[in-house]
Symmetry: none
């Protein structure tokens, strides 16, 4: 864990390499008809073989019953108590597109959406309107001037954008405009405390002007804003663990997360194959690599069991290439479960595998929730895997005489 004072002098910088592969939404649940999970259905011979010479177990992302978003789920894997270190959605999105966030800035996650003539929401994602449409609209909204604040609108992708505010006296103590359902209008922003008055007023003015600019649009004729947040204050992974950590992630939000925890974000392409290329190219430059795999979570959130099985099988095909690097520690973890039968993140414990020179005799039979529930690592808080990775790579020295 990142702030375990008692062992802070036990970390040593060494040449050994750690690769942490985070499979987003890795965990699943058994299908009621087959009684087997996505991992149990999937044909994943490389992962199964790896499991047979690795230490395996389950991680609890936060605590039983609590389903984390990818933000807290990842923070936990990096060693941060997710109940203590909270990151707002807006700040995450902004960092993800590499906005230069500073203390005092406030960012919000924006959706272009569709409203009817009464102003009631019809589609909170504007029909998943494409970037070709929204990039020019972001430029238009970026022109909006409001006194007392420097305001920017950045496109993220498709219907998603970031509203970024810089000025004096801004605050995250405001409500959201997104009612989280259709059939009603967007909400006014209200201050949650006197600190939030100025920001609430600015955002309401922005939405009002935006409505005017967008009103002739067919789909993206309104905006929704949520997750107003500033730059969180997290200890740096590199400093805490005496690492030179790097992040390789195709999706923006995970690059944002990595920046917040002090990792160097290495630019990469759009696919996992691109990510592995990047890993190979920069392998000499760092001693810790976070690599992210998204497709299993996307399929799980869509409730598509077969697609999640396929995404896991696709991942499996890349494993040999990963192993050829011979990292001193290869850890495979998930930020949370995304069971296809639930079509959402869940609270269930997530398979965790750690492979090092010390695990060759440990192994379990196969890579699955059920198999790993019997694994030698047991059931541990997600926040403890960094300690295991550091220990297995010789970077954590003995504690006490």
């Amino acid at each position: 864990m990142i702030d375990l004072d008692a062992i802070k002098d036990s970390y040593a910088t060494t040449p050994s390499k750690i690769v942490l592969l985070v499979v987003d939404g890795l965990g699943g649940l058994p299908h009621p008809e087959t009684k087997r999970s996505e991992l149990e259905h999937a044909n994943i011979p490389n992962l199964d073989h790896l499991a047979q010479e690795s230490a395996c177990g389950l991680t609890v992302p936060v605590m039983p019953g609590v389903a984390p978003g990818s933000g807290p789920g990842h923070l936990a894997l990096f060693g941060y108590d997710p109940l203590k270190y909270l990151i707002g959605r807006g700040a995450l999105e902004a960092l993800g597109i590499e906005v230069d966030l500073r203390r005092g800035d406030i960012s919000a996650r924006g959706n272009f959406c569709t409203a009817d003539q009464e102003g009631n929401l019809v589609d909170r994602r504007a029909g998943r309107v494409p970037s070709e449409v929204t990039i020019p609209l972001c430029r238009d909204l970026d022109q909006i001037q409001i006194e007392g604040v420097d305001l920017r609108v950045y496109p993220v992708e498709g219907y998603r954008f970031v509203l970024h505010l810089r000025g004096e006296g801004l605050s995250d103590m405001v409500t959201e405009t997104d009612p989280q359902r259709t059939g009603v209008s967007a909400l006014d922003v209200k201050a949650l405390s006197p600190d939030g008055e100025k920001t609430a007023s600015i955002v309401n003015e922005f939405v009002s002007q935006a409505r005017g600019i967008l009103k002739e649009e067919e789909r993206a004729n309104m905006v929704l804003l949520r997750g107003f947040s500033g730059l969180p204050n997290l200890p740096s992974m590199g400093e805490a663990y005496r690492l030179s950590p790097a992040a390789i992630a195709a999706y923006p939000m995970y690059r944002g997360l990595s920046t917040i925890v002090g990792m160097k974000v290495i630019p990469t392409g759009r696919t996992f194959s691109d990510e592995l290329d990047t890993l190979y190219e920069h392998y000499e430059d760092h001693d810790f690599f976070y690599v992210h795999y998204k497709p299993a979570d996307a399929a799980g959130e869509d409730g598509n069991f077969e697609a999640k099985v396929k995404a896991l099988e696709d991942l499996d095909k890349h494993i040999p290439r990963l192993l050829e690097l011979k990292p001193d520690v290869l850890a495979i973890a998930g930020d949370h479960a995304t069971p296809a039968i639930m079509a959402a993140h869940s609270w269930h414990p997530v398979p965790f595998l750690l492979h090092s020179q010390w695990t060759l005799g440990e192994g379990v039979e196969s890579f699955s929730e059920r198999s790993f529930s019997m694994g030698p690592l047991g059931r541990i808080p997600a926040t403890q895997i960094m300690l295991l990775a550091l220990a297995h790579s010789g970077k954590l020295t003995k504690f006490g005489p």
Copy 2:
């Protein structure tokens, strides 16, 4: 857990229904001759079948080695850290018979008992003297007047009564009169701190006058008092979890407990069948129901293995009726183990089952300690089951972006 600040905004009020069936003393131990526990001996086809489509595991009531009373055992199941939220026996008993307790009141649990001519105790329960004898005696004791205090004596049942004191400067910092064994006399009450002086003096005066009033009685010729306590200050379950919780329990102490944690106590009859009738009648009125089953604990405390087996089989017969309600979550838990071979509460982990739409593929083979020790829920603190129940019924929203 009831006071997990970081997720306090994650609870949502929804129409889904949770039924928490607490089988008092559910856990047991294998018999030395058969090596099988009460649950393993019992013919419980409904519970076994339920286990095959439920998420199962074991709960640790407090921590390894610590055997809780039903008070702490239940508090933990409701989400209260039992080491932090302490409730005295007297307050529990008083609330159980619906005494209107207020801050500053002190209550004690009373036993009518039998003493010999030297004043030494012969029977700490006065031969389990019946209510027809003790109700008039309570009225006599209720007449006792002591300066500076308003004193009441309420019958509970048989040899049990409650002494209720209201006045200025009362305190729970006093010792008990019950020596917890026969062959010696009852103890004088002593103050544990200066705060307790007034209360100690009042109670000793009460006992002295009671001895006089009761001295001609054949069995109930003396009183024992213990568990001096005031009204504890617990956060309300309903407020914390955004529930409308109700309690259905035939035995007074559990109604008292339920009141303390903010549940609505629904009057019911004397048997579990009556409790189920009450559940059916009021099912539309609440979203959370605590239902209590006592007979397994009573048999266990008597050291009667066969009787405990039968009590579990009797419970099993009611399960189909419970399932016909189709609660969104049915959780079956125990406040502690009461192994018949120990004839007492023990510290052993207790079987826990949760049935919801998400558990149909999870199942284990049968409903027993051994089977559940391999279950997907693992071994968790009892304080975490409410989070699972809320998550499975859609009442706990995702944590973080």
